[in-house]
């Protein structure tokens, strides 16, 4: 299944991209998607604990299952205001 994965702020700098298309096997979780991308972008791994996850513009957890066509986002700690 096809996923769109978004990186924001410092995470986009680390990966050098703000968006990747990913082909994932069925029944994977957001945590598994992160692991796949951390293998491709090893500099992501140290940020694992501080990263927040979103699925289709809603906060999600590493256990959240993903579905075909989902937009997954990795968010560093927010700093608006």
């Amino acid at each position: 299944m096809a996923l769109r994965v978004l990186f924001f702020a410092s995470l986009a700098d680390i990966t050098g991209t703000s968006e990747v298309e990913l082909e994932a096997s069925p029944n994977v979780t957001i945590g598994a998607v992160f692991a796949t991308l951390a293998a491709r972008f090893p500099l992501l791994e140290p940020h694992r604990k501080s990263i927040l996850f979103a699925r289709n513009s809603r906060y999600a957890t590493p256990d959240t299952p993903v579905q075909d066509g989902d937009e997954i986002a990795f968010l560093p700690p927010v700093s608006g205001g």
Partner: protein, 139 residues
């Protein structure tokens, strides 16, 4: 009313849109860009957002403020893109019959925005730039 804008925030315009004669208290909060941070001179900030999610989250903050505080309405505008010291990066107007709820709702909204809405700022100095990472406790 919640908004993300790329131009100067019209805080007075927000106040005029939100406040009505039945309100006994109008609290306007403006977050402004400081010209210093951690001992360094800040030239400007750049705000980036996950816009679709940030708008949803701002709306949730608004709804939660309305649910948990005795206010009649609350409006929030956050700026994106380049913002210079002294300029407003965020404006919040809370209106209520009485002042305590309006003050409290404003503080509540600022705190929630800073911890839950996917917006990030990058500080630009004379030499270099750094992404600011906030406190996500409570999520």
């Amino acid at each position: 009313m919640v908004q993300l804008v790329r131009e100067r925030i019209d805080a007075k315009g927000l106040r005029e849109r939100i406040a009505r004669p039945e309100d006994g208290a109008v609290v306007l909060f403006e977050g402004t860009v400081r010209n210093h941070s951690g001992g360094r001179t800040v030239k400007h900030l750049e705000y980036h957002a996950y816009e679709s999610m940030a708008l949803q989250q701002l709306e949730e903050v608004r709804e939660e403020a309305l649910r948990t505080h005795a206010i009649r309405d609350i409006g929030i505008i956050h700026r994106l893109g380049t913002v210079h010291p002294g300029e407003c990066s965020m404006a919040i107007v809370a209106v209520a019959s009485h002042r305590a709820a309006a003050f409290e709702a404003c503080r509540f909204a600022v705190d929630r925005i800073k911890s839950a809405v996917p917006i990030w700022k990058k500080e630009f100095y004379e030499n270099g730039a750094v992404w600011v990472e906030g406190d996500t406790m409570g999520l």
